[in-house]
Amino acid sequence: MKAYTTKIEAATGKVIVADDMILTKEIPTSAGSKMLEGYVSLFEAEVLTRLAAAGYTLGGKADVGEFAIDLVGETSYRGALVVDGKLANATAQILEAGEAAAAVGLDVNGSVRRAAAQSGLISVKPTYGTVSRYGVIPVACSGETVSVTAPTVAECRDVLDAIAGHDDKDGTSHPETLCAKLKKGAEYAPVRRVALLKSMTEGIDADVKAAIDAACEGLKKNGVEVSVIDDSIIAASRVAWNILMSAELCNNVSRYDGVKYGYRAESFSGIDELYTNSRTEAFGELLKTAIIFGSETLSTENYMKVYDKALRTRRVISEAFAALFESYDAILMPACSTMAYTEAALKENKYLSYTENFYTAPASITGLPAVVFGGVQLVGAAFSENALMSVAEIMEKEGR
């Protein structure tokens, strides 16, 4: 199956798949980039060490889009995965084929959540800092999280239980007392009141609208109060996240220069050409654009107007969420505008991932947890994963 970058045929038992942003010692990790083709890490990601300790066996690596900033993985240097004319996600393909119980992957710009929503899978993006990012290829460090995707809520819960916890090797890791809130059996306040963000339901297609309607109906049937609210602040998340993500990405990928590891151009006349030719030949178009945009936001001329403004806006957005969580237990929103992306749509707008993240940026920029089920996502307050997953489980039982 093309979805794998490496498949471990001998894997048996509780098989887990990791996306190609997560470092493995025995098999290559490419981040979907020609720059890292064939690269083998010297150490393993903490999440995989923890999963092995919990009895999971690595079944292979799933392909990802270059540095995981695209829609669903279509910018991998290996080429887009297209199924029935639609852009497909490698992890989702593997899970749908029943070849793994669950998957872990890096949610940088929402690709994990979009893929889960479009494939009818469950995905949990945990609270920032509750799952170690040690051994994960860094892209947008201030918001990216290792997320779990599985066909069932129970599988997601088991995997999250195995990987959540403090890690001394990750400077952004929460203390164990906070991480313990995600563990199975931890007490949580059930979801009673949900807000549906009106601004997020205006540009969606009929299939996504149907998924939102079904979720609302299911919630109400189970005694959850659903209110439609308008909030222009949260809707600004995308613009601010695009700036922060690109700026951090620009810094993080500056290490790839064709010298210490990774791709090196065959032709160059000096050290500057070695750097430039290696990066130019190895990086894809979306990544190059993101690097240049990120670099410009950090320039002397734009730093205060753009980058600093985005950082301050992040606080305003976080405070807006905090205010909402005084009245509501969770916020319902789509994870994508459509249930399928096509090559034609991408050809028309090759930067679709910079607009489609309208739905995923709120949880990314604030580090809040989000659970995808039935094609929609529910965003909660920090450490509310158990409450969010309990809602997903109720919907799952009802076949929604």
């Binding site: 083998v40 010297l42 600004a236 210490k260 070695l274 190059k288 410009e296 606080r315 910079y354 920029i365």
Partner: protein
């Protein structure tokens, strides 16, 4: 986005774009610039920057003697090495 600015950014980031890519990037910048009004409409004059989404504490680790990575392992994925050195074109003429 001026052409000169783009050229400076290419050099700064050690990238070289084709003419078609330059057009795409200029168009991308125009879209992003247009979106800035969304942020400008938000009053942040009294708001502190939020670099970290959660409180970050300085990690203090015990001093533990560990085996560092072996040089040959570190150079396993290097494009070109020679007797333990990373090879690059001559830098000083």
């Amino acid at each position: 986005m001026e052409r000169d600015t783009l050229r400076r950014l290419e050099m700064l980031n050690q990238l070289s774009l084709t003419e078609a890519q330059k057009e795409d990037v200029i168009s991308f910048f125009a879209d992003r610039e247009a979106e800035l009004v969304t942020l400008e409409a938000i009053d942040t004059s009294e708001t502190e920057r939020m670099v970290h989404v959660m409180p970050i504490m300085t990690v203090v680790r015990e001093d533990v003697v560990m085996q560092p990575f072996a040089r040959e392992d570190l150079q396993r994925s290097a494009p070109e090495t020679d007797e333990g050195y990373w090879c690059v074109p001559r830098v000083v003429e």
